[in-house]
Every structure is written in C-alpha cells, then in structure tokens.
Amino acid sequence: MTVSGDTAQRALATWPDRSGPGLAPGDAYTLEQTWSDPPGIIGWFAAINHKTIAKRFMVTTFIFFLLGGLLALAIRLQLALPNGKVLGPDKYSQVFTMHGSTMMFLFAVPVMQAVATYLVPLMIGARSVAFPRMNAFAYWIFTMGGIMLYVAFFLDIGPDAGWFAYVPLSGPQYSPGKRVDFWAQMITYTELSALMEAIVLITTILKMRAPGMTLNRMPLFVWTILVTNFMVLFAMPAVMLASTALITDRLVGTHFYNPAEGGDALLWQHLFWFFGHPEVYLIFIPPLGFMSSIIATFSRRPVVGYPAMVLSVIATAFLAFGLWVHHMFATNLPELGKTFFTAASLMIAIPTSVQIFCWIATLWTGRINFKTPLLFVLAFFVILLLGGLTGLMLASVSLDYQLHDSYFVVAHLHYVLLGGAVFPLFGAFYYWFPKFTGRMLSERLGRWNFWLFFIGFNVAFFPMHVLGLQGMPRRVYTYPSEMGWDKLNLVATIGALTIALSMLLFIVNVLHSRRRGEIASSDPWGAGTLEWGVSSPPPMANFHVVPVVHGRYPLWQEAGTPRYVTGLANEWREVLITSVADAKVDHRLWLPSSTIWAFLSAVATTILFVGSIFTPWAVVWGAVPVAIAATLWFWPKHDIIERRVESELRP
C-alpha cells in the first residue's frame, strides 16, 4: 500500500491547522513515504504500521464475532423447539464450545487490544506503538490460531468440552482424539498474542506519550487500556499454565489432573478461573474507556470526576483477582472461604457504581448531542446494569447453589458481556469509524441497527433468566416438551434472529458507508482528544508535527506554549520517548521498519504449535525454524546500521 495522493493531501490539513504551521509539502511527503507499508503481496505481509495491523486485527476479530454469532444461531435453532433435531448432541457440543471459545478468546479480549493499538498512539500523540514488529507478530499469531481452530472445527475436530474445558471431561480419558488438543493449543496462540500486545501497549502508553501528557492528563480510554493490559500480564499466565498442563496430561501422560496419581480436578478450576474471572474485566474495562470518550463528546463536557474514574478502574482491576472462587461455589470447598469470595464479588460493584454515577452526572449536567454512538452507550445503563445486578445474585453462595450452571447464568453472562462490552464497542465503531475510514456511517441505518439489536437482545436473553429459575441447566442440547420450557425458548430464538438481522444491517452500513458514506472532517463530533486533531483517516505517520499537551482535552482547551515539537527525522521512523509520569522529553528512538520476518516467525511458530499437537518432539524440531526466523527478524542491515551510527547522539 503506497500513500495515495488523497491521503497525502489530507495529511497536510492536520493537527497544525489548530496549533501551528505544518510541515513543508516535500517533508510531509517524505514522512508519509517513511511510515507507509511496502507495496505488493509481500509488502502486504510485511506491513507493520500500527494502523494497518490494527485495522486487520479489528476486521479479523469481527469475522470471528460473526462466526461465533452464526454458531449461536445454530444453538438457538436447535433449542427453539423441544426435542430439536437441527444438530445432533455431538455437533451441539462442538458448536457451543466453539461459540464460547470464539467469543471469549477470538473476539472479546483481542478486539479490545485491536482497537487500542489503533487508537492509543493517536490519543497520546505518538507516531507508532512501541514495538511495531512484535505488534504485527502478535496479530499474525492470533489470526493463525483462530484459523487453526476453525479448520479443526470444519474437519470435525472441533473442541467439545465447553469453553472452560473442565477436566476430567477434557482430559485424556474422556476426550479421546485431538479435539481438545486443538482447543488447548488455540489458548496458547491467543494468550501469546494477548501477552505480546500487552507489552506493546503498556510500553507505548508509559514511554511514548506526547510531551506534557502527564499521567494525570491521559484520556480515560488510555487509562483503561493501561490497567487492562497490566491485568493481562498477571491473568493470562494462569490459563497458559493450565492449558499446558492439560496438553502434557493428554500428550505425554503427566498427572496434574489425575486424582488416582495425586492430581486434582479442582486444580484446573482454580487456575482457569484465576484467569477466567479477570478475563471478564479484560473485556469489560476497555469499554469503560469507550463510554468515557463517547459520553464526554456527546454531552459536550469533560467527564465528571476524572480521579474517581481512574481510581475506580484501578480498584476494579485489583478486586478482579479476588473473585475467582465464585465460579466454584457448587464444589466442596470450605464455606468460610466462600464467604470471603462473596464479599469480594459484591464489593467489586462499588467502583463500577461510582463510574455509572459519574457518567449519569456528566449527562445530567451536559448538553446532549443525540447520535448513534451515544445510543449504544446508553444501552449500557440498562443491559450492563441488569447483568451487574444478576451478578450480585450469583455472588451469593446460597443463591448460586440454585442459579449456577443454569440458564440464569447464560442470561447473566450475556447481559454483562454484551451490555458491558459489545454495545459500547458498537458505539465505539460508530464513533471512530470516521477516523478509521474518513467517512461517516449512516445515522439512519445506525438507529435501526441499534433498536433491532437492543430489542432483539432483550427478547433473546431476558427469558433465559426465567428458564434458569425454572430449572433449565445450561449446555443441554435438547429438553423434553413436558418441562414447560418451550415457549420461552422459542421467544429467545426469535430474539436471536432479530440480533442477526441487526448485525446484517450493521454490515450493510459499514460496506455502504466505506465507499459512499458522507466524507468525515478531522473532527466530525467536535471531540476533545488528540486523535481528532489529525485528518480522517490519519496520515501514515499519525502526527506530522508532534503536539505538546497542556490539558486533558487538548482540542477543547486553550493551547499553551510550547505548542509543538520539531526535530524528529522525516527520513526514518523516529519517535519521541518521554518520561513515565510527567511525559518530559527524554530521547529519540529509531524504530525498525517493515519486515516480512514477523509474519514468517508466526508461520514458524504455527508449525511448532500444530506439530506439537501430534508429537511432543515438534517442540524440539519446530524450535529450529522459529529460532532462525526470530534471528533474521532481529538481524540488522549494514547500511541501516551505518546511517544509525551516523545520526547517533549518545546519552
């Protein structure tokens, strides 16, 4: 992809039009060339510009979202009537496992990181993410893991032990064959990707903010991303360990989960939920950032209580690590311990309610620009609120005895995840789509999309609360007609079809608007954060002149002095590194440019991972191509080194 004349043209009308002179046209052209991805098919695989990778990442996760949605439709069709015959029990097990695994591992967590890798550098005034090649590698690894899982599914090797794959059902004796191995290996892929993205994002946020953007001035969205990715560092290792132990149990006969040889089935549950519960917050916290961005813009004022919002997010992150046992109340763990986890699970509602109150206060005291993004965000106040309240019910040990593993839980988790993450995410799509593509999404289709989604969602999932109370356990592939569950199930299926229709409208809206939508200005919503200071879509280098920040909403507030930065190279990918807390200028850094080796390393890693499903020796011979690819990835070119040494300034 080379820079089109259009992009270069628009690049000239960027940030400086509000803060000072831009670059001379020649320099701007050089800069755009420097940051562009190479042309051709090989160039396509060698691209590492954070916006290119993030766009692909978003599209890929969205494709997985649609696939997961189709699986959900299959589930609902099977359950629409008693004694359904749409899927057999074996297919059904695979389908609901794939649905859960797709939505959790291939959509919800990565999509947040994907959006973040696009927006964070723009919001903090950086030209790139910190480790652009690793960012590309993380994307490719993720994509290959997802493709592997779906290839397996189409080959009838789809995992069938549920998305949390409890041992011993997922263990060697009760899941013969390779189905669960593919699931466990998919975990390895997605965790690897998520962990790398976490390192990329944390470093970007801490070291690459524009001068003047102290921690205290960081947009709330960036705060949520920072906190989330710190959580990733400590949560994801648990599931990696759990799934590695599962794979070795299945492949080389270790006994982690074999009670007869000293192992324990609950070890899996502890490890899995030590990851699994924070995971819910990995999914839920970034949307809090979407909420804060959108609510501020559409109520035309800063969000109430910035410090309270930040502290709430941090408190949520800490508490999230103290709740995992509430997934295990029905096991025979000691009662006293369970009460502790009940208390923690109830207390995590406090920071969330603080945030909800702050947003309501913002709306109350603001002036409201009623647009589609705001609609999606308002849905949060109904859906997530309901999901949060049913969460309080599940946090109680005694109530959980009845509600656990019933359709009530299915309703609860969809209310939390869709209300807390998917609705704000759609709001975010509508909000930032002009920034991503340079065109507005249709407002009319957007409203249809919203109302169908909102109504369909409640029709689909509200009845499930009742079904659960009426005794319907989750993960049943059918039910006898005498149970009296048929009407509500049929209603839920109708709701699911309505959601499908609304998704169809969304796709139509995106495809249509991408080509024919109204052209977006650099700041179509009148927002206050830095990403709206550059053209839509942003230039390849993001900021032709890096701004200096003097407040939390730099586009709303008076510019101070100095207003912008000069002295970064145009001929190579140079970025400005600043200090962690105060964002004082520190040094300049020459980032690496495009490379095919990130992609090829991902291919080599895939060979190792897939090979190791079939033979443990793949870990040995598969390591050779990985080592070679990784070395070539880092091996510098002589001429570049010479130029670097030439331009070097020692500390």
Binding site: I41, F154, L155, D156, Q173, P176, G177, G253, A260
Partner: protein, 176 residues
C-alpha cells in the same frame, strides 16, 4: 486489498474441510459393517487380514478400552500383561495379530479358557475391542490409541507404547 484475491482459494479450502476427518468422528451407531465378519477357522486359512475401520477412530478405540474394563478382560489378561490368559502387550500372538484373527478369538473363543463372547457382546463392540487390543501392543497410530486414563498407572499409556512386531507363535499341537 489482496485479501479479496485470496477469497476463492479460502472458499475452496473450506469446502475441502467439510468432508471431515474420520479419525475424530463419534459414530453413535454402527457403521454399515466395521469389517467383514471373520470365521473361526480364519487364522488357519491364511487369507489376507481383515481390516478394521475402527483402528482409524480414536473414539471407537477408547470405547473399546471401556468395554475391555467393563467386561473384565483384566480378570485373565491383567492390564495386558497376562495372567491366566496370555499377555496382550507383547509381540507374541498365538492366533495371529490381524484384526480378523482377534475378532475370531473374542467372538468364538479359543481353546484353554478363552470364552466365546459372540452371544454376549454385539459385533460392533467386538470390533472396538479388537482395535483396542491391538493398540495395547502399539499397533495403532499414536494419535488414535488411548492416552493415559484417570487411574493408577500400571503401564505406559497405549499411545506411547513401542510398536511390537507381531510374531506368530505356533500353537502347541496338544491344545487342539
């Protein structure tokens, strides 16, 4: 974007995948015939070995292992190490190591103690047992043979056993 050019190839790939993978299927009813039925004189007749399609299916082999335990094959053959009956995890086969011969042994019995299970165990389950019995000496591929079970380990799991080269041990004449 180049992605669009890749689409037809991707579609083709997806179509290919729809054919599925026999190794992983969970047949809930017997395939038309797991194999040709073997007759008792099979081993002596010297015909080509009968193949057993369950040897390609991990689920069927694992079912075979369930029957092996439930029907108390361990009572005589122990965990395959042999006790009253001959060991099943070594290279020696009195009546031949191919599926047909093993089927005949289970279904029709053998002299000196092996009862005939043909009346009691459905044909389909016998074929699953045959597949499992062959996995005990490493005759099946490692990705089909059972992994370790959730019990005390008496021997390495079937999928990590060394493949024994079957030798046909001449049956002592006295036994006939």
């Amino acid at each position: 974007m180049k992605a669009r050019e890749l689409m037809p190839a991707l579609c083709l790939l997806v179509l290919l995948f729809l054919f599925g993978c026999e190794r992983e299927q969970r047949p809930t009813r017997a395939p038309a015939a797991a194999s040709a039925v073997a007759d008792p004189s099979y081993a002596a007749s010297g015909k080509t070995p009968v193949s057993n399609r369950y040897e390609e299916n991990a689920y069927a082999v694992s079912q075979g292992k369930t029957w092996y335990r439930a029907y108390n094959c361990n009572g005589c053959h122990a965990q395959g190490g042999g006790d009253i009956g001959p060991p099943l995890m070594d290279a020696k086969w009195r009546y031949g190591s191919d599926p047909g011969a093993i089927y005949a042994s289970i279904a029709h019995g053998r002299p000196n103690g092996m009862p005939a299970f043909g009346e009691h165990v459905p044909e389909d389950q016998i074929w699953q047992l045959v597949a499992y019995v062959r996995s005990m000496s490493g005759q099946l591929s490692g990705s089909v043979a059972p992994n370790r079970g959730d019990n005390l380990q008496a021997a390495p799991p079937e999928n990590r056993r060394k493949k024994e080269t079957p030798t046909h041990e001449a049956t002592p004449a006295a036994e006939h």
